[in-house]
C-alpha cells in the first residue's frame, strides 16, 4: 500500500479547490466524497443536472460546473461514493465504497465536510411533511423534484435562495414565514457601513428579496411562536405575526434558520474546538491556513466555520498552500506570498459575513426547544422534559446527560441534538457554552454493517522508506 501526501475528505468547493492546488504543486492527492459526483452542497449535481435548464438555480450554481470540470481534469484520485467512517490522527482513513471498507494512509489530511442546517425544534418539527429547506434544494438539484404548495419558514440567505429558485421554476409556494426578529435589524445596522464595502453581495441579497416580494406570495415578517399543526403528519403552520395568531394550511413545511459546521468528523478526531458566539455554533480551531490543533490535520470550508462557498474556495486554497509547505514542496516565503491575496480576500469578506450573521442571528426561542413535549433527540425520542429530568438527576455534562437519557445515542450520533443540548445545559447551569462542552464522538461516522466490518483486514501502515518511494 502506498502512502498519499494528502487525503481530502469532501469534494465541495473547499475540497475541490484544495485538491487542484495541491495537485498543481506536485502532491499525490486523493479526494473522498460520499456523493456520486463532485460538487458538495452548493454545486450538488451541477456537472450533471437532471434539470433541463439550471438558470433557475442562479449563476453561483452554474459557476460550480466550471470548478467541477477543472477538478475532474486534475490528475488526482477521486474516490466517489466513498464514505469516510474513520479518520485517525495517525493519518489513517477507513472508508466504505460499495459495501467494502478500504484503508488509506496519508501524511497530511484535509477535512472539508461542509455544513448542515441548524435544527429548528418548534413543536411538531419531527412530523412527516416537515423538512429542512436544504432538503428541498437537495431534491431539486439531485432529482429535479419539488413540493408544491409548501410553506417556507425561518430566516437567512439560503432560505430566500431556495424560495426564489422555486418561484423561478414556477412552483407554487403557499407562504414565506420570516422569523428574523425585528431587533436583529437594529442590531445589524451598525455593521452595515462596513458590509457595504462588499456592495455586490449586498445587492445580490436585496435583489433576491425583491424577487420574492414581486412574485406576490404571502409573506409574514417577525413571526414568532411557530408550531407545526397536525397529529400524525403536518397539516399546517401556526405562528404569530403582526400581533395576530395565524394558521396556514400546508402539507409540506420547509424550515431553515442558518447552517452550522458538520461537527462529527472534527469532534471524533478530538481536535480543539471553540464556540462561535456570532454564529451560535462550535467550530474547529484553526490558524489562518486551516491547520488544526493536530499539525498534520487541516480543515477548510464551511466544516471549519461558516464562510460560504466563495470563502470555502479561498480557504481550501490556503490550506493547500500550507500543506504543500509542510510537505516540503513550497518554501514558507512562497507560501506566504501566494497566500496573501486569499487572506486579504477573506478579510474583506468578513464584515459582510458579520453583518449577515448579526441580521440572521437565530432567535433562542427557535434554536432551543421551549415546549416540554418537544422532541430534542429524534433518534431516541427524548423530549425537553426528559432532558430536564436527567439534568435534575445530576447529569450536568452533555455526555452524562446522554448516558442517562440516551439523548444523542441514536444513529445520527448527536448531529441534530448536539447544539441544542449544549445550549440547554448552558441555560440550566447558567454557565457559558464553553464550560458545558459537547458530546465525545467516536467512529464510525455513519452506520457500518457488521458484515462489512467483519470483512475488513487492516493493512499495516507503510514504513517511511515505502512512503518515500
Amino acid at each position: 500500500m502506498q502512502a498519499l501526501d494528502c487525503a481530502i475528505i469532501g469534494a465541495g468547493p473547499a475540497g475541490m479547490t484544495a485538491a487542484i492546488e495541491l495537485s498543481k504543486g506536485g502532491a499525490k492527492v486523493a479526494v473522498l466524497d460520499r456523493g456520486t459526483r463532485a460538487g458538495g452542497q452548493i454545486y450538488r449535481a451541477a456537472a450533471a443536472s437532471p434539470l433541463p435548464n439550471t438558470s433557475a438555480l442562479g449563476p453561483d450554481y452554474q459557476a460550480g460546473a466550471e470548478l467541477i470540470a477543472a477538478f475532474e481534469r486534475t490528475d488526482l484520485t477521486h474516490f466517489a461514493s466513498s464514505d469516510a467512517w474513520h479518520l485517525g490522527d495517525d493519518g489513517r482513513v477507513l472508508f466504505s465504497h460499495l459495501g467494502e471498507t478500504h484503508e488509506l494512509h496519508c501524511r497530511e489530511m484535509l477535512l472539508c465536510p461542509g455544513a448542515m442546517e441548524r435544527p429548528m425544534p418548534i413543536p411538531g418539527w419531527t412530523l412527516p411533511g416537515v423538512m429542512t429547506a436544504g432538503a428541498a434544494q437537495v431534491m431539486l438539484k439531485s432529482d429535479a423534484t419539488v413540493a408544491e404548495g409548501a410553506v417556507f419558514a425561518g430566516s437567512g440567505p439560503l432560505l430566500y435562495l431556495i424560495v426564489a429558485q422555486y418561484l423561478r421554476l414556477g412552483v407554487p409556494v403557499t407562504a414565506l414565514v420570516d422569523t428574523t426578529p425585528r431587533q436583529n435589524y437594529l442590531n445589524a445596522a451598525p455593521l452595515l457601513p462596513r458590509a457595504l464595502r462588499q456592495a455586490g453581495q449586498l445587492k445580490k441579497g436585496i435583489a433576491l428579496l425583491r424577487e420574492i416580494r414581486s412574485a406576490g406570495i404571502p409573506q409574514y415578517r417577525f413571526a414568532e411562536n411557530l408550531e407545526v399543526l397536525g397529529q400524525n403528519k403536518a397539516k399546517g403552520l401556526r405562528f404569530t405575526s403582526g400581533g395576530q395568531i395565524r394558521e396556514i394550511a400546508a402539507e409540506t413545511i420547509f424550515l431553515h434558520h442558518g447552517v452550522q459546521p458538520n461537527l462529527n468528523m472534527t469532534r471524533a478526531m478530538d481536535l480543539a474546538h471553540r464556540w462561535n458566539p456570532q454564529q451560535l455554533c462550535w467550530q474547529v480551531e484553526t490558524d489562518a491556513f486551516g491547520q488544526t490543533s493536530i499539525q498534520h490535520i487541516s480543515a477548510a470550508g464551511d466544516g471549519a466555520g461558516i464562510i460560504g462557498a466563495d470563502g470555502a474556495r479561498i480557504a481550501g486554497r490556503l490550506a493547500a498552500l500550507n500543506i504543500l509547505h509542510r510537505l516540503g514542496r513550497l518554501s514558507e516565503a512562497d507560501r506566504n506570498r501566494q497566500a496573501t491575496p486569499g487572506i486579504a480576500k477573506l478579510a474583506a469578506m468578513a464584515p459582510f459575513r458579520a453583518f449577515i450573521d448579526r441580521l440572521y442571528h437565530p432567535a433562542n426561542a427557535l434554536r432551543l426547544p421551549q415546549n416540554p413535549d418537544t422532541l430534542v433527540c429524534r433518534c431516541e425520542e427524548q423530549t425537553l422534559a426528559d432532558l430536564r429530568e436527567g439534568f435534575n438527576q445530576g447529569a450536568r455534562d452533555p455526555n452524562a446527560l446522554k448516558s442517562l437519557t440516551r439523548c444523542g445515542m441514536g444513529p445520527c450520533q448527536g448531529r441534530q441534538c448536539g447544539h441544542m443540548v449544549t445550549g440547554l445545559l448552558s441555560q440550566w447551569r447558567a454557565e457559558p457554552t464553553e464550560a458545558v462542552g459537547y458530546y465525545r464522538l467516536r467512529s464510525p461516522q455513519r452506520l457500518l454493517t457488521l458484515d462489512e466490518l467483519s470483512r475488513f483486514q487492516a493493512v499495516p501502515a507503510p514504513t517511511h522508506a515505502e512512503a518515500a518511494e
Binding site: R396, S403, L404, R442, P444, L447, S454, A458
Partner: protein, 371 residues
C-alpha cells in the same frame, strides 16, 4: 472541607462505598476528577454476571447478585437492571471438557448456580446460534443493567444520605498527619479520618500516595453498539474460549464486546480504538451468529479499566498505612461487584472487618520477601 471518610473516585465502587457509609451515618466526601460515571463504570457493557467467575470471587459476586435484584427499590433510583440468563457458548468439545472440569470444581465448593447445556438445549435458547456449537453453560439469575444509571443511582442515594460528591476535583496529594488524612485537591483541601481508594485505572497513583506499591496495569477494552434490530437473542451471550460476547437490549440494540483491547491513554483521559481487532470481533460474532451480519454498528468506544496480574481486584485495608482502604483493579468485571464492594468497604471502615474472606484480594499479595 472535613469529613469522616474521604472516598477517591466516583465510579460504581466509590459511589457504592459512599452510599453504604453515608447510610450508616458517616459523613462522606467523595472526590471525582471528571464526573461520576465518566470512566469504566459509566461506559462498560453492563453485564451483571455470576457465570464463569473466578472461584475466589464467587462468594462476593453471589452476594452482589442478590443485591442487584432489589437495588432499584433500595436506592430509590433506576439502575436499568433486568434479570436475564447468561450463556457461555462451548464452540467445540474441548470447550465442553473445560466446562465439565469447572462444573466439578464448582460443585465441590458447593456452588450450584451454573449448569451445563447440551447442544440441543443451547439451540433451544439461542435459535440463531451457529448449529456447529457443542453446548454451553448457563447461569439463570444473572442479568444486565445500564452502567451510567446504576452508578448515578448509587451517587444520588449517597447524596440523599448527605454524602458530599465533589465533581471536577482531582486529588493531587495525600498525607497522614497525626490522626487525620490531609488531602489536596486541585480546587480545595480536605481532611478526613479515613481514606478509601476507588480510583479505578488511576488507583496505583492513589495507592502510592497512601504508601502502597501495587502492580496495577490499565487497558482499554472496546465495545460496539448496533442500531435497533429485530429481537433474536434473549440471553446474554459469552463464550468459553472465544472473544465473543454480546447482549441485545429491550430496545433492540445489540452491544458487542469480546474483550478486544484498544489503546489506553490514561494520562490524557483518552482511549483509541484498534479497528483491526474490532474487525476480528465482528468476524467472531457473525461466525457464531450469522443473523448479525445485517446489524449496523452505530458507535464504537473503549473505557479505561484497571487490571491486576491475576485479574482479581484489590479489596481491603492498606498494607502500609492506618485508616486507609482500597477497592480497585476489577479487571473488566467489576461492575457486577459494585453493590457488595460498597458494603464490604463500609464494613471495613466502620467496623474493621468483613464477613467475606478477603485474603485473595489483599494489596500486598505480590510483595516478595526476597529479591
Amino acid at each position: 472541607m472535613k469529613g469522616d471518610v474521604l472516598v477517591i473516585g466516583g465510579g460504581i465502587q466509590g459511589c457504592a462505598t459512599a452510599y453504604h457509609l453515608a447510610r450508616q451515618g458517616a459523613s462522606v466526601i467523595l472526590l471525582e476528577k471528571d464526573y461520576a460515571g465518566r470512566h469504566a463504570s459509566g461506559v462498560n457493557a453492563g453485564g451483571v454476571r455470576l457465570l464463569g467467575r473466578d472461584m475466589a470471587e464467587v462468594p462476593l459476586s453471589k452476594a452482589s447478585m442478590e443485591m442487584w435484584q432489589t437495588l432499584d427499590e433500595e436506592l430509590g433510583h433506576e439502575t436499568g437492571f433486568r434479570r436475564q440468563s447468561v450463556i457461555n457458548i462451548a464452540a467445540d468439545l474441548t470447550d465442553m471438557t473445560t466446562l465439565r472440569a469447572r462444573e466439578e470444581r464448582m460443585q465441590a465448593a458447593g456452588f450450584t448456580h451454573e449448569r451445563i447445556l447440551s447442544r440441543a438445549e443451547l439451540l433451544d435458547r439461542l435459535p440463531h446460534v451457529n448449529p456447529d456449537c457443542a453446548g454451553g453453560a448457563i447461569s439463570e439469575q444473572d442479568g444486565y443493567a445500564i452502567p451510567y444509571k446504576s452508578t448515578s443511582a448509587f451517587r444520588l442515594a449517597a447524596e440523599r444520605h448527605r454524602a458530599k460528591v465533589v465533581e471536577g476535583e482531582e486529588l493531587l496529594s495525600l498525607r497522614r498527619v497525626g490522626p487525620a488524612w490531609l488531602a489536596q485537591g486541585h480546587k480545595n483541601r480536605y481532611e478526613a479520618e479515613t481514606v478509601v481508594n476507588c480510583a479505578g485505572a488511576w488507583a496505583d497513583h492513589i495507592a502510592l500516595m497512601i504508601g502502597d506499591n501495587v502492580p496495577l496495569s490499565h487497558a482499554a477494552p472496546m465495545l460496539m453498539i448496533t442500531a435497533r434490530m429485530p429481537h433474536f437473542a434473549a440471553p446474554v451471550v459469552g463464550a468459553v474460549s472465544r472473544q465473543l460476547s454480546f447482549k441485545q437490549f429491550k430496545n433492540g440494540t445489540v452491544l458487542i464486546g469480546g474483550g478486544a483491547k484498544g489503546f489506553a491513554d490514561r494520562a490524557n483521559n483518552r482511549t483509541r480504538l484498534d479497528y483491526a481487532k474490532l474487525a476480528s470481533a465482528a468476524r467472531t460474532t457473525v461466525e457464531f451468529f450469522p443473523i448479525m451480519r445485517r446489524a449496523s454498528i452505530n458507535r464504537m468506544w473503549a473505557g479505561l479499566e484497571a487490571y491486576m496480574p491475576d485479574n482479581l481486584p484489590v479489596i481491603g485495608p492498606a498494607a502500609n498505612a492506618d485508616r486507609a482502604f482500597h477497592a480497585f483493579g476489577f479487571s473488566a468485571h467489576g461492575f457486577q461487584m459494585g453493590p457488595i464492594v460498597g458494603q464490604v468497604m463500609a464494613d471495613l471502615v466502620l467496623g474493621g472487618q468483613s464477613r467475606f474472606n478477603l485474603t485473595p484480594f489483599r494489596i500486598n499479595r505480590y510483595d516478595r520477601k526476597i529479591l
